[in-house]
Symmetry: C2
Subunit: 269 residues, 2 copies
């Protein structure tokens, strides 16, 4: 069995100085540089592989400081504070001595408590009943994901007319299917196409500048989810003078909320 | 005219080594340590006061690594990457050589573009028609804010019964009123009481571990808002095994969305 392209993409080599060496992946190439979701997953993976890591990810914030060049990069991670059951990490990614990503992560040991999913899964047709998005992918990374749009597909006419709303709901998973883990869940959190294209169909240049992921899933829930489809929902809250935000949720087919995530995105015009 | 307590609370003294010296504020004391909103504002303020700062805040993430002791602290901020019109900052706060806060911020120069507020202000009675919350404040910082709950006030009976929903809507502003700026807007983003107390009224121990603020307001909009009331709305998305998230929005009275913000919070039981 050959390795999944995602495993190859997020692989890191520990260096003698404690940093990790990685390489951008042609399989996940974007218009300029790599797909940001995989870059975020690579950043998280450095913490996951660190010998001093305690517990599982609860939150991750990554800031995209520059488009990565195709080629190698270095990830440095540092446990800034370790408490009894929690840990705070500082993350930085560099290429040729220049910072291309900054970030922080919070890890913790979970305990069983009372719980509830307040943002419940919206009512959409089952994944098998929603046709898979086809047609020519403009960028390579899109081919690594199966996407089935139940609402708010990528526009086919770029009219520039304000649609009044930017919501998208889709079933999605890795292609080929792959057992879910924290790294792939991180990348899946960034699969949504930019809300400004949805709200006002016009192919303006965009770029995510900061993304935060809150992990509500623990390892047991990831295992129960396996390689099944996830339902993703995303919507913008405000577009103003060059930046907009979008929030998103990812549920598994059983309706468990796995991730809530937010990002702020640069846009032109 | 005497200085506003908030100005005194967020004041920082530049040190010879490039760091900033601050001090926790008794006026904004919480149950244990200071109100996190003011700590976040102090962290942002170090960037705002830095001689190399470019533009205005677009996003801020702060991670609360430990409860601050009452007393002095040091904030170190570093411009990790400066582009033509954007800048990425790394933030760390220390007490007695130990990290108490990590963070990142993204600043940028804004340009006029097409825009829209997609998350519109909910329909609630005007601030003057909603009674101000009264009664004994359990903690000092709450007295520094005027709060008028239109929906989802702090429980009066701690029954422990699941309410099924955790939404709160309130008018809020500094007390005494103060002209809005990026620092006070940051603190106001953290005024909401924890959603676990709202969803399931039980005074379980809680603590914010990470907060992200997206600033949709620029200086001109802050000036137009002045010292008027803001409408805040907040709701949780998931409570699971020791951590829940809450999202929030802040609008001015004219209905402009100023901030969208998210946090993940530890809870016991």
């Amino acid at each position: 069995m050959s390795a999944h392209p995602f495993d190859a993409a997020v692989a890191l080599q520990p260096q003698a100085d404690g940093t990790f060496l990685g390489h951008t992946s042609a399989a996940y190439a974007n218009m300029v540089g790599p797909f940001g979701g995989v870059t975020a997953a690579q950043a998280l993976n450095a913490v996951l592989q660190h010998s001093q890591r305690l517990g599982d990810p609860i939150s991750l914030t990554v800031n995209f400081a520059a488009a990565l060049d195709d080629g190698p990069f270095i990830v440095s991670v540092r446990p800034a504070r370790t408490n009894r059951s929690t840990q705070h990490w500082v993350i930085e990614m560099q290429q040729n001595g220049e910072t291309v990503l900054t970030g922080t992560a919070f890890f913790g040991l979970r305990r069983e408590t009372w719980g509830a999913d307040e943002h419940t899964m919206p009512d959409v047709p089952a994944a098998a009943e929603v046709p898979r998005a086809t047609g020519p992918a403009r960028v390579e990374w899109v081919k690594r994901y199966e996407m089935r749009f139940a609402e708010g597909a990528i526009p086919v006419e770029w009219s520039g007319t304000d649609q009044g709303v930017s919501r998208t709901r889709l079933w999605l998973r890795d292609d080929p299917p792959r057992l879910l883990d924290f790294a792939s869940l991180t990348a899946l959190s960034d699969v949504f196409f930019p809300r400004v294209w949805s709200r006002r169909p016009l192919l303006v240049p965009i770029g995510t500048v900061s993304m935060t992921v809150y992990y509500h899933a623990d390892n047991a829930l990831l295992q129960r989810t396996g390689s099944g489809h996830l339902l993703g929902q995303t919507q913008a809250q405000a577009f103003r003078n060059g930046y907009f935000d979008q929030t998103a949720q990812l549920w598994n087919q059983a309706g468990n909320l796995l991730v809530t995530t937010h990002q702020v995105v640069y846009y032109k015009e």
